[in-house]
Amino acid sequence: MEDSRRNFLKMAGIAALGAGASPVLNAFAAGGGPAATPKTMKGKDILWAKQWGLVIDTRKLTTAEDLKPLIDACHKTHNVPFIDPAIVGHNRHEIKWLWQTGYANAFPDLEARYTHEEVETRPFLVLCNHCENPPCVRACPTKATFKRPDGIVAMDFHRCIGCRFCMAACPFGARSFNYRDPRPFLAETNLAFPTRTKGVVEKCNFCVERLADGLLPACVEASNGALVFGDLEDPASEIREVLRTNYTIRRKVALGTGPAVYYIV
């Protein structure tokens, strides 16, 4: 999003300068060096990684009450509306970034006929997997969905044309579409994060806006240590230590998308 704003400002600047812009550009080109090519700079507090990842310790989140604060934190932070089926009469317009489901739904290919009794009833948190090889990014016809250098699969809500190709491409059902104006369904609005318009897709963004300010994702912060967030590419990171010392599973690995969300069962 920062990139497109930068481009926009650049283009607006050039347009305003009109014909006068060309000597300016020539001067830049003649000068060479770093000024000639625009570059993205990181904020001073930003948390950065090569591939952000998440480990969910499902042993520490065993009831719906355990999950609720995490889901609420996420949805409040990101202005995710609650479109009450009791009010609109159906559940078709539901929007969710982080939600709970059953083991067999989260891991349909790992479902066993006879399974651990406690796991069978345990709620599982599901969200966008910020895949290493995301099919949604491949499908998007406008680059409104893109993979950032830190591995986060992010979205530009202002570029999305609402074709929903990404929703068909996602094998995890992680994406929601604004079938109507979501704003009337917000109990309160977090002014630090944009609300959405009708007609665009949205999903979990691993809290890019919080990472930019040096904060961990909202769900991780609310999890009392049940969620561990970190750089999967950094062998010295806490998340890698957790992955080294615990057996974890990921959703639908056979599809080759490389989910960055791991589960300790």
């Binding site: 559940n91 317009h93 998007c140 044309i161 059902g173 579409f177 604004n178 665009v200 639908k252």
Partner: protein, 385 residues
């Protein structure tokens, strides 16, 4: 040449007025959708593509089917089709307009549609689909217009049109291949994840497109002084016969792979369509009707005595057209989403506003087709007089 479309009989005027009425209705409902959002449709978080995208898929087939008159004439020098190639090209134009409008009405943010070309993304199949659909529309407009104009003036069409005609033949194959690639390259959508999807699309296209053309030829003979010709209709009928049999064969290949391997990812969607899943089966009667219609039409067409009788041929073509429409325009898209990636079953049924908008889109297609055919027939009547 458009002047031919302005004047016409009372019935012609009534038909055009009715179409304009449907277009007005569809446009009005679309304004409502534009204002409210796609929430006025039956689409949901789980079934995120439905009736609109299904019509795109089906009409791409009808558009591609037009090549079945162009190819024999230009590549095999089958002279009889020279009389009706223009009908195939004009049918493709009308069908493509329905396709493109079906995409437009499906967009959440239609005002941003140019983002597809402002930010071209070659890794997206949808980007390529816009290229091939618009390209094929452009090719048929240029070719159809020039060839018809030459016919009216009693001259040969300009030389530069010929390469475009040759180009339009593989291009016709491409529009349906790329449209199949929209679906069959998606991981985790087991119903579509099959290499035979594009060939299957083409087979049903080459059945449904020419079947519609046969019906249109019979209608033209009734309402005008231009006779597309018995030989032409019979040749088309043979093409339809082969294509529908290949289409059914491909379908049986799918069934075999899914049910002999018994991999749930592949069987559940087919089960949902034909027997229902966890008590949900809104499409079950439709799908059986589709199979019965297509199989019966295939049997009717394969018997020469029946095929040669134009009245019965028309019935078989209509059955086939409806059967293929149910298969592609109703079942194929929503079944890919049921069950959803979390194996939950949430069904989709189009709403009345959704149907009204679709009807409006089809009415635009019918209007374009009527204008183009009226023009072509007017010129053909004049030249032959």
């Amino acid at each position: 040449m458009l002047e031919y479309a302005i004047k016409g009989s009372k019935a012609y005027c009534a038909w055009m007025t009715a179409l304009l009425g449907l277009i007005g209705l569809g446009f009005g409902v679309w304004l409502w959708q534009f204002n409210f959002g796609l929430g006025i449709t039956g689409l949901s978080r789980d079934v995120s593509w439905g009736f609109y995208i299904a019509q795109l898929t089906y009409m791409v087939g009808v558009a591609a089917g037009g090549v079945m008159v162009v190819l024999p004439y230009y590549l095999h020098d089958y002279k009889a089709f020279g009389r009706i190639t223009i009908l195939g090209e004009f049918l493709a134009i009308a069908a493509l307009i329905v396709c493109l409008l079906s995409v437009v009405v499906d967009l959440g943010q239609p005002m941003r549609i140019l983002n597809v070309w402002l930010h071209p993304t070659p890794n997206s199949v949808l980007f390529w689909d816009t290229i091939v659909l618009n390209g094929y529309l452009f090719l048929n407009l240029v070719i159809g217009w020039n060839v018809l104009q030459a016919e009216r003036n009693g001259t040969h069409y300009p030389g530069w049109v010929k390469p475009l005609i040759y180009l339009s033949i593989p291009w016709a194959i491409s529009i349906h291949t790329v449209t199949a690639f929209l679906y069959c390259g998606l991981p985790g959508r087991g119903f579509w994840l099959t290499a035979i999807l594009a060939p299957r699309f083409l087979a049903s296209a080459f059945a449904a497109g020419p079947a519609l053309l046969i019906l249109l030829c019979l209608l033209i003979r009734k309402v005008s002084n231009f006779d597309p010709g018995r030989e032409q209709i019979q040749a088309l009928a043979k093409i339809v016969t082969y294509a529908i049999i290949i289409n059914l064969f491909f379908f049986l290949c799918e069934i075999f792979v899914a049910f002999y391997s018994q991999i749930p990812e592949h069987t559940t969607h087919i089960k949902y369509l034909f027997v229902g899943l966890h008590g949900h089966g809104v499409l079950v009667p439709w799908m059986w009707a589709s199979m019965i219609l297509m199989a019966t039409a295939a049997i009717m067409l394969v018997i020469p005595a029946i095929r040669h009788n134009e009245g019965v041929l028309a019935v078989a073509c209509a059955m086939l057209f409806v059967g293929a429409w149910i298969d592609k325009g109703l079942g194929l898209i929503s079944a890919g989403f049921v069950p959803n990636p979390l194996h939950e079953v949430n069904e989709y049924v189009p709403t009345l506003p959704e149907l009204a908008i679709t009807l409006g889109v089809y009415a635009i297609g019918a209007l374009v087709l009527t204008v183009l055919f009226k023009m072509a027939i007017g010129i053909k009547e004049e030249v032959r007089a």
